[in-house]
């Protein structure tokens, strides 16, 4: 998902800064081929001071921050009564708390510019109940709440805030899913397939663009009609 987002935004002419725990072959390729428009740092999402430092680094390099896509997430599936305290803590820290800290830092730069767009990557799990993902769902629903309140708070300063709620797509988060469950999801999806990461990235790119200049505080569901 992260790679698809980076690729979509680079292709649209954005300069893109991102971070992750470790570099991937995709990141190495971007660093070699798109150095002037691409910036990567090794960083843990749970390192809140590091997140602030990263925002300062991006601002120092490119003088402004016009967009933020909050895509950090972990998944720890299991019934709530069987989940460990560590798993619950990891979900809340990475999926929610780190997003709030990163948004706080980036929004400050956007406030100064009086311009910016933020997209939070939510989930259809924020909208529909599913067994085994209660805490994950809670963090994603919280992001939708964050989206709506921040849209009110930052709108007068020219900053738009939206969220995108992807349906199921082929990723590390769904690869452990039993084949029969995957088939069932496809059967229930009017458009007849799982999402591709590029389906989500295209919608994010739209929300960040001037084409969406009058859209804020919304959650856009990208699930092939699964929840309609």
């Amino acid at each position: 998902m992260g790679a698809a987002l980076v690729q979509a935004l680079l292709d649209a002419g954005w300069r893109v800064a991102t971070f992750s725990r470790q570099p991937t072959p995709f990141i190495e390729r971007c660093r070699q081929q798109r150095d002037g428009a691409f910036d990567w740092q090794a960083l843990e999402a749970a390192d809140f001071d590091g997140l602030r430092g990263w925002v300062a680094h991006v601002r120092d390099r490119w003088d402004r921050i016009d967009a933020l896509v909050n895509n950090s997430a972990v998944s720890r599936e299991g019934r709530l009564t069987l989940q460990s305290t560590d798993d619950i803590h990891a979900l809340l820290t990475v999926n929610l708390e780190s997003v709030i800290h990163l948004t706080r830092a980036a929004a400050q730069t956007m406030l100064h510019q009086r311009h910016g767009a933020i997209v939070n990557i939510s989930s259809v799990n924020a909208l529909r109940g599913h067994t085994g993902v209660a805490v994950y769902s809670a963090t994603k629903a919280a992001l939708d709440g964050l989206t709506r309140s921040l849209a009110r708070e930052l709108g007068p300063s020219g900053i738009r805030v939206n969220s995108v709620a992807p349906g199921y797509f082929a990723s590390a988060l769904t690869e452990g899913m039993p084949e029969e469950q995957r088939k069932q999801i496809v059967r229930r999806t009017p458009l007849g397939r799982l999402a591709e990461a590029e389906d989500i990235a295209g919608v994010v790119r739209f929300l960040l663009s001037d084409e969406a200049r009058f859209v804020t505080g919304q959650t856009l569901v990208v699930d092939g009609g699964l929840t309609c």
């Binding site: 602030r52 300062a56 601002r59 400050q108 730069t109 406030l111 100064h112 007068p156 300063s157």
Partner: protein, 86 residues
């Protein structure tokens, strides 16, 4: 190091100007809300501008924003944050 009071007053003037507020003179005792007419959004803009200029945000860890009432309080908060080891 840049003078904190100068930075605060200059950025305050910028924020006031954008809001159409008159700010003929300033003193440390002036109340940001009651005397100058700033709103919470103006304070957010002011803190954002000062973070960019002074590269520090006292309200992350050092001081609750609710304790800031006057220009003097604001200057003291930035002076304190700047004196902390990074």
């Amino acid at each position: 190091m840049e003078n904190v009071q100068t930075a605060v007053v200059e950025e305050l003037q910028q924020v006031a100007e954008l809001r159409g507020l008159s700010l003929p003179s300033t003193s440390a005792r002036q109340h940001l809300i009651d005397d100058l007419g700033l709103k919470s959004l103006d304070l957010a803009h002011l803190v954002a501008a000062l973070e960019r200029r002074l590269r520090v945000d006292p309200f992350i860890k050092h001081v609750p924003i609710t304790q800031i009432r006057t220009i003097g309080d604001l200057c003291a908060a930035y002076t304190c944050a700047l004196s902390e080891p990074k």
